[in-house]
Amino acid sequence: MRVAQGGDPRAFELLYDRHGGAAFSLAYRMVGTRAVAEDIVQEAFLSIWRSKVRYERERGSVRTWVLGIVHHRTIDALRRHLVHERRRASAEGIEERLDSGELTDVEAVRREEAREVRAALSALPGEQSRVIELAYYGGFTHTQIAELLGEPVGTVKGRMRLGLEKMRRELTGATA
């Protein structure tokens, strides 16, 4: 698809319609509050609209690109000042998850992909999946994770690398 950056609002709207849900889901998973997730997604999409970030086709799909921007912005937000906000996540409890009745074919495929990724994550040794989840979804730095777990930084970084390598093999069917 054409990527709307500072051009046609209708093309931009299409971009949001296709990827806004996944972007919001990721931000919400990371910060745990709808209001903060909304702010992050709005900022991320506006940065795309205002062409502050550019899509490079060789770096993968548009969806991956959009989610990468959202992930970076969410991490920035978490590290700047929102770390404590997200601790209230569990108190909010007004999630509107998609139920199976609302699934389109595309969404059904994505559900299946999600299952595969979760399976690959849960197949990892606990200490590897823990550091990956704390880093990617929690927005913690390697030093923060090392402090949380009482492990050396080198060990934490090693587990991240090993865990990703195992996930890669699981997802692509590659052998070691």
Partner: protein
């Protein structure tokens, strides 16, 4: 592969997961420029890190998020358009539809009311220029963007006078000849520019109109519209 590869290779996973602090990430990126070994590993492991967002449980974003986002986008698009030497809505395309609408408008509204209609189609949605009462808004112009599904249209105005103390502009939707509140109020900035998202659907609507009403809005228009967008 660079000489300091061993020193940095453990950072590949942390970098992909966003776990390197900003400064360390920048240092690692500089290292990547010279280290083919780290670049190769990075590309291999990217498959795994880029799969992580797909594991997230889908949660519906609120419709207000898109409304707010598109409101800003349309307003900025209008500003850019305004900054160009020629204003699109100052020079509506003269089409048979325009001529017919203009003629109908003269009959319906009479002398003293400026007229301009243009439709910019494509992508299922359309943008319709408004008929502006130039006796009250001499430099006024407005357009309504109606998405293909007719949901959450966006009205953009420019050159409208301040509605007056304690007043705001209120948007109305005409159906069956009756004006109903659209649930959208707006004010204008120093240049008379403003915008309003119209919640809900415009299916079956004959027109969208704007009047100046007391702050908080009214249940029925208390004056003739300062602008009208004909939809049927």
């Amino acid at each position: 592969m660079s000489r300091d590869h061993q020193e940095y290779e453990e950072n590949v996973g942390a970098y992909l997961l966003g776990a390197l602090p900003e400064l360390e990430a920048e240092v690692f990126e500089r290292h990547l420029e010279t280290c083919s070994g780290c670049r190769r590993e990075l590309e291999q492991l990217r498959v795994a890190s880029e799969a992580l967002p797909r594991a997230v449980e889908p949660v519906l974003p609120p419709p207000e998020l898109k409304e707010a986002l598109m409101k800003t986008v349309w307003a900025e698009a209008a500003e850019r358009e305004e900054a160009r030497p020629k204003r699109r809505w100052a020079l509506p395309r003269l089409t048979p539809a325009f001529a017919a609408a203009a003629a109908a408008c003269v009959l319906a509204i009479g002398i003293g009311i400026g007229i301009g209609v243009s439709q910019i189609g494509g992508g299922g949605g359309k943008t319709v220029a408004a008929l502006v009462d130039h006796s009250r808004a001499p430099s006024g112009a407005a357009s309504l963007h109606v998405p293909g599904n007719k949901q959450n249209a966006l009205l953009m105005v420019q050159g409208l006078p301040n509605p007056g103390p304690g007043k705001v502009y209120e948007v109305w939707v005409q159906r069956g000849g009756q004006m109903q509140p659209a649930g959208a109020l707006f004010s204008v900035g120093s240049g008379g520019s403003g915008s309003a998202g119209i919640p809900g659907s415009l299916k079956g609507a004959e027109a969208v109109a704007v009047t100046a009403e007391r702050d908080g809005g009214a249940l029925k228009p208390t004056q003739m519209p300062v602008l009208t967008v004909k939809l049927s």
